[in-house]
Structures are given as structure tokens and as C-alpha cells.
Symmetry: C2
Subunit: 416 residues, 2 copies
């Protein structure tokens, strides 16, 4: 049974220049997968490639694969594949470790540079709504570098930047609300204040153009298992601005970032370039699964991705206002296109949440968590964020307009 | 063509109680693989398990696998599988990140505990022949915690321990020489001096019994891609003594070690137990490949592993003295059984090494690196460590006595 917007969704899908990309992923037509902002779908080419890595490269060549199969250089090679997706030149990005560990490298290194230039800078600024790990790690980095952490609302960041700021750590897209921060302006403001800036791109890489080099970003980190579809826990990446690479003083100087690793010398001499961000032996199975996953981007225009992402969000919000009883949910994602990433987050008022608009909610109605459970049981896969947020991620390479329509229609049915 | 010790090798293989284990690995009879101390061979069950993780758990269940497929709890679950191999009780070990990153967590946390108990302790001791990463990371940890690094020869460690020692970081088995340190005695001496000790088990886990709980070790780290056969770059593990778990103050406090990670609160409250060692999202593909690889240990007696390891080493040295011209190579691995791990390292004098015994070497003879290249081209896979060391690793689950005999015989032929 179709809703009134199904025909329009089908027409939008027919006109979608990225529609053919969907066939490059493993998807089933019974499921509407709107959680690619948490774990991207499996690209079709990955299983065969990973099977070859295991059976031939590990099983047959074994240790020789570090050279013969290119394992040793994979962190930089895969970094160079990510580079065009974030507007970075070659040898600026290295892949490995978790996002958390890369946040640590970037914040400590940025503090060191800022304080080398001006020892009076003693503050690390962070958006108070940051993804939790970023805040915890920034606090640890501040403690270890003799600075202090100061958490402020994102809107206050421009005025909080000042002569005491060593580093600002900012999430490009808020994981909860989907709000997009203005990267060019905040980067320029940080530099005007004499500070360094670290961007967390977890929720923007693969969803919109970023322009790291063009905007003079100092450091950036990002994850590869969301919009980049690298697989569960795939290694994260670290970007270091070209001018800062020679000054990048990592708190995690492992043998893989040594200028001559196989000399196995007791003195640490850092390598030049992106390699300096490496630490220990990289996780090869996940790294090469990611490398295979990235091939789906080879012929993709990021401007088209952004256009479709915004169109999906607009259309989903229209479907929600058509199918869902007024007052039952409200968007916490900004409606202005320039202020949002590629997810729509709906606050769903209900009993026991202690939050939400409350309007139109009646006793006995489902809580946000229960609403998401009911959606998932119908094959609409989004996720729930405490206390009352329903998240729907739109991954332009494989989300269709009909997916958006079905999700909104099911939401209307579930909330009644 | 067999050598004079081939019949004895065959007899030893027939009497080997672990001989049946070899069939659980992917090996080819043309190759003698003696580099399992660098990258373990592929266990036969791993490819099918990993294919299922990719196709079904990631491809079909996607985000739901964090709960339904047990992804979320994998770091502790896999840790509990490693625990009996190092003499640790349950909930003492967590798996994730590289060895380098775990050395950082352990050394910083150990320094914090030592200085909390006695603020005057300002030294981190390290074996000067340590695997390079350990030294680099220990130096970074010292710099960030306001202590200083002091590198001394392993033999001097007992007398170097004193009232200024916060932490000693020691490699259980030297990666280059294969020398085994006396873990029970050094641990007791460190404690007698009021210091904490961190053991790096990379070259001992899976090669010999360790006894972490029994000997009261404070912290330990280890890698899983050598004798544990977890695959290239498989995640490392971190052990924290039960008494220290509540005091474990990690320098990398990510959301996965939060007491209530999905509350996503801005304040960090560490979880209890092994989980506290987690950081960010773990690498699931490699983690579950490792979990599958560990099943080969289910019915293995570590005492039998140690007996066979030592017997292989003894036999190999006897074959070398039979097949290789006197003076051409000399063992840098101690001959005493209680002082060695599971590898034999031979110094191979030759032109351009600037080291070695020099005795019996003639102009035009091959250098150590050239000797290893020649061995590899004959299917004898060991490795070379700068400047003149040939390493041969004996992995008792799949190395046969005939492997040892063939390797020594080929070495004799190559060096002439």
C-alpha cells in the first residue's frame, strides 16, 4: 500500500544520477537501511577481495606480503584514496588506529605547535555537544600537555576563541542533531585568533565536500565505516596540513613512523610526510577491506552526492509532515540546507523521556526508544540516541527516495 | 636428498604429541615456514568464519550485529580466550588497538599509579635492546607524565631498580636475540623496589607459559599475530592486574571504556574491569578473525608447547653444527633452555656487516642479508634483522623437526 508521496518518490528515483550506485552494495529490498551514518552497507566487491587477502596474501605468501602484496605501504596508499573525498592533496592522509586514537594524536600535536609559537596558550576548546570520545580524549590531551579543557556550545565557539586558545576541536557534523558547522569560517576565525583547529569529519566524510587544503585546516580526523563503507571498526584517518607535517610531533611515535623502521634503532627519527602519523603494525584485514570499499567512489562526483543528500533530507521531512500526526515529532536538524549534514534527527516526545516538545503526546504513547524498536521490527533501520532522538541517515550512494518515503510512512503508522 | 639428521628428525616428528595440530593450518610442503614469530600461519577455520562475518553479519545484519552478533563485547570475550594462554583470570584482558598503543596506555597508567603512591618516583626504566616501538613510546609516556626515560642493558635492570623507579618496561623475549627474561624474579625485584612493571609479551605469548596472575605482574601487553596466528596486524591485548583495575587511569579514555557508553554523556566515568582498557570502536573484522584463530588452542597444553619449542631449538642448533661450516654462524640466542624463547638467532658474519665473529669468513662470501635472501628463494622462510642476524622462529603448533633439519641443511648449502 503506497502513500500519497510514493509516486513522487519513484519519479525522484528515476531522475537520480546516482541511482546506479545502489547496485554496487549488498542490500535487500525488504529493508530500508537508514543507518549508513553509523555502519555503511557492504560494497559488493569487498568479500571477494578480502577472501583473496586471507587465502592468498596471508595463507600462501604470509610474511612476504608485507612487501609483495603492498601491505607495508597500505596506510598511505589508502590515505591517498580518501584524500580527494576531503579535498586533500597526496601524502596528507594516513589510515590506521581508531578515530579516538587519532583525535589524541591530533590534539596533542596541535597543542605542541600552538604552544611552541606562543607558550601562553593554555586552553583546548571543544564543542560541549561533541561526540563523547572527542571530549574525553581532548581532556586527556589537555591534562597530559599541561593545558585545560574548556567546553562551550558550538554557537559560542567564535567568541570563545582568543589569545589563550591553543586548539579548538570541532565536530564538522553533530552526531546527534546532524547540524553542520561552518568549517571555512571557524577555521579562519581560529587562525585569526592565533589558534590551531582540529576537525572531526566522522559524519561528513563521504556525505559532502570538505575542502581541507582549500580552507587551510590544520588537522582532521575521520572514520571510514560510516559513509565510506569500510566495514565495522575499519581504521580511521588522520590529515595533517602540509605546512605542519614537519612540525607534527606525535605523542604515539611507533616504529612504523620511523624514518628507517627496519634499522630498528633505539633513537626515534620521524619520517617525513603522512607516514609520520603511523604508530604500530596496521590492521591489514580491515585496511584492505576498506581499500576495496573505496573503489565505489572512483567515478562519483561529490557535488552530486551533496545535492542528493539534501534532496533526500528535504523530501523525508516533507513525507514526515504528511504522514506523521502534527506535534508527535519535530526535527532537531536545522532545516537550512547549509546548516545540515546527511542525517535527519527527529525528537520524539513520549513518556519517560523528560524532554521533547510534549505537544500532542498522549498517555500510553510509545517512547522514542520504543518507536525505533517498532520501526526496526518493520525493517526500517535507523537508530536511537538518548534520550529522545530518532536518527535517520541518508547515504546518497544507496539510499533511494522511496526509502525515505517508506521510512516516514512507517513512522506515521508506528506513532499512530 | 636427505642429510644425516633427517632420519632422527622424522623419528622426533613421529613422537611429537602436537604433530596433529599442523593439519589445522594452511601450509604447503614446499615451504619451511620459520617466521611464525613475525606472522603466524593461517588457521584453516579462519577464512570461512571471516567470510560469514562479512557476508552475513556485516552484509545482512549490518548495524544490528553490534548486539545480535556479539560485536560489542568482542574485546573482552576475545581477551578471555587469550587469558589462559598467559595465566590470567577472566576479565583481566582486553583486545584492541596496536601493541604500541597498548604500551602507551600501560606505561602512562603505571607511572600514574607509582607516583600516586610515591610522588618522588620519576624514572621509567627500559631495556636498552627493547623492540624500538617500546622505547619510543616509553619516551613519549615519560615526556607526557613529567618523568624521564632511562635505558639500561637488561642484565643491569635488577640493580637499576630503585627508589626513583616509577615503572620498568621489559620485553619478555628479546625480538632480536630470542633471549628470555626471568619474569618472576624481575617482577618481584621491581615490587621490592616499590616500582611497577609492564611486560611486553609479543614474543612469548603462545610460545611458553607466562603466569601473569601467579607472578603478580602489574601490566602486560602482547601481540596476536605471531604465535597466536591472528592475522596481519591483528589487534593487540592489554592485561591489568586485578588489584590495579580500579586504579587504571587510561590516557586514552574513549567512549568504549565508559561505564555507560550509550548515555553519551560529556563526563567520563570509566567502566570497571578489563573494559576500562578499551578506547574507540574496535576493528571487528580483524578481531573476529583472531577469535576464530584462537580456537586452535582449545585442546593445547602449554607445557607441551614449551617442551616441543625447546626441543626444536636444541635440534636445530645440533643440525646447524652438523651442516654449517664451523665459524660461519654463531648463535646469539642463549643455549640454556631457561634463558630462551622460541626462536634461534644466528649471527652470520660477512662482508659489509661491520659485526659478527668474522672467524672463518672469506672475501666474497655472502652477507647475512644475502644468506637470508638465498634461503627464502629455496623456500626456507626466516627473516633478517640488521645488521647480521638470521632469525628462525619455531612455532610448536605447526613447525616439525624435519622443518628444522631442512632449514639447517639449506643454510649449510647456502653459506658453502
Amino acid at each position: 500500500m503506497n502513500g500519497p508521496l510514493a509516486a513522487e518518490a519513484a519519479a525522484l528515483d528515476r531522475a537520480d544520477v546516482l541511482a546506479a550506485k545502489r547496485a554496487e552494495f549488498v542490500l535487500d529490498e525488504d529493508t530500508v537501511y537508514l543507518d549508513g551514518n553509523s555502519l555503511g552497507a557492504l560494497p559488493r566487491d569487498v568479500p571477494a577481495r578480502l577472501a583473496d587477502v586471507v587465502a592468498r596474501e596471508w595463507g600462501e605468501l604470509r610474511i612476504r606480503s608485507w612487501g609483495e602484496s603492498g601491505w607495508w605501504t597500505a596506510p598511505e596508499r589508502v590515505g591517498d584514496r580518501i584524500a580527494p573525498l576531503v579535498g586533500a592533496g597526496p601524502d596528507r592522509i594516513v589510515v590506521g588506529d581508531s578515530t579516538s586514537v587519532n583525535v589524541f594524536k591530533a590534539v596533542v600535536a596541535a597543542v605542541r605547535i600552538a604552544r611552541q609559537d606562543d607558550p601562553g596558550r593554555d586552553e583546548v576548546l571543544v564543542d560541549e555537544a561533541t561526540f563523547p570520545t572527542d571530549g574525553y580524549i581532548a581532556e586527556s590531551a589537555a591534562r597530559l600537555t599541561g593545558t585545560r579543557l574548556r567546553a562551550v556550545p558550538a554557537a559560542v565557539l567564535p567568541s570563545a576563541l582568543g589569545p589563550r586558545t591553543a586548539v579548538a576541536l570541532v565536530n564538522h557534523v553533530d552526531y546527534r542533531t546532524g547540524e553542520l558547522q561552518d568549517l571555512p569560517t571557524l577555521t579562519a576565525l581560529a587562525h585569526d585568533a592565533g589558534a590551531r583547529i582540529v576537525w572531526d569529519l566522522c559524519h561528513s566524510v563521504g556525505a559532502l565536500p570538505v575542502g581541507l587544503d582549500a580552507h587551510g585546516v590544520d588537522f582532521a580526523v575521520g572514520c571510514t565505516y560510516k559513509y565510506l563503507n569500510g566495514g565495522p571498526g575499519a581504521p580511521a584517518f588522520l590529515y595533517v596540513h602540509g605546512d605542519l607535517q614537519p612540525r607534527f610531533d606525535s605523542p604515539l611515535p611507533g616504529w612504523h613512523s620511523h624514518a628507517d623502521p627496519f634499522a630498528m634503532s633505539s633513537g626515534y627519527v620521524p619520517a617525513e610526510g603522512a607516514v609520520r602519523g603511523r604508530v604500530g603494525t596496521p590492521d591489514i584485514l580491515s585496511m584492505l577491506a576498506l581499500e576495496a570499499a573505496l573503489t565505489v567512489w572512483d567515478d562519483v562526483d561529490l557535488a552530486a552526492v551533496r545535492r542528493k543528500s539534501l534532496a533526500l533530507g528535504d523530501f523525508f521531512l516533507r513525507c514526515v509532515s504528511t504522514y506523521v500526526r502534527a506535534g508527535r515529532v519535530s526535527s532537531v536538524t536545522p532545516t537550512e540546507r547549509e546548516r545540515r549534514g546527511s542525517q535527519i534527527s527527529l525528537r520524539c516526545a513520549g513518556p519517560g523521556t523528560g524532554a521533547g516538545t510534549g505537544e500532542g503526546v498522549e498517555a500510553g504513547e510509545l517512547s522514542a526508544a520504543e518507536v525505533m524498536d517498532a520501526l526496526i521490527s518493520r525493517g526500517i533501520i535507523g537508530d536511537f540516541r538518548h534520550p529522545d532522538v530518532l536518527r535517520f541517515g541518508f547515504t546518497p550512494l544507496y539510499t533511494s527516495f522511496l526509502d525515505a518515503e517508506r521510512a516516514a510512512r512507517a513512522l506515521g503508522e508506528v506513532v499512530g
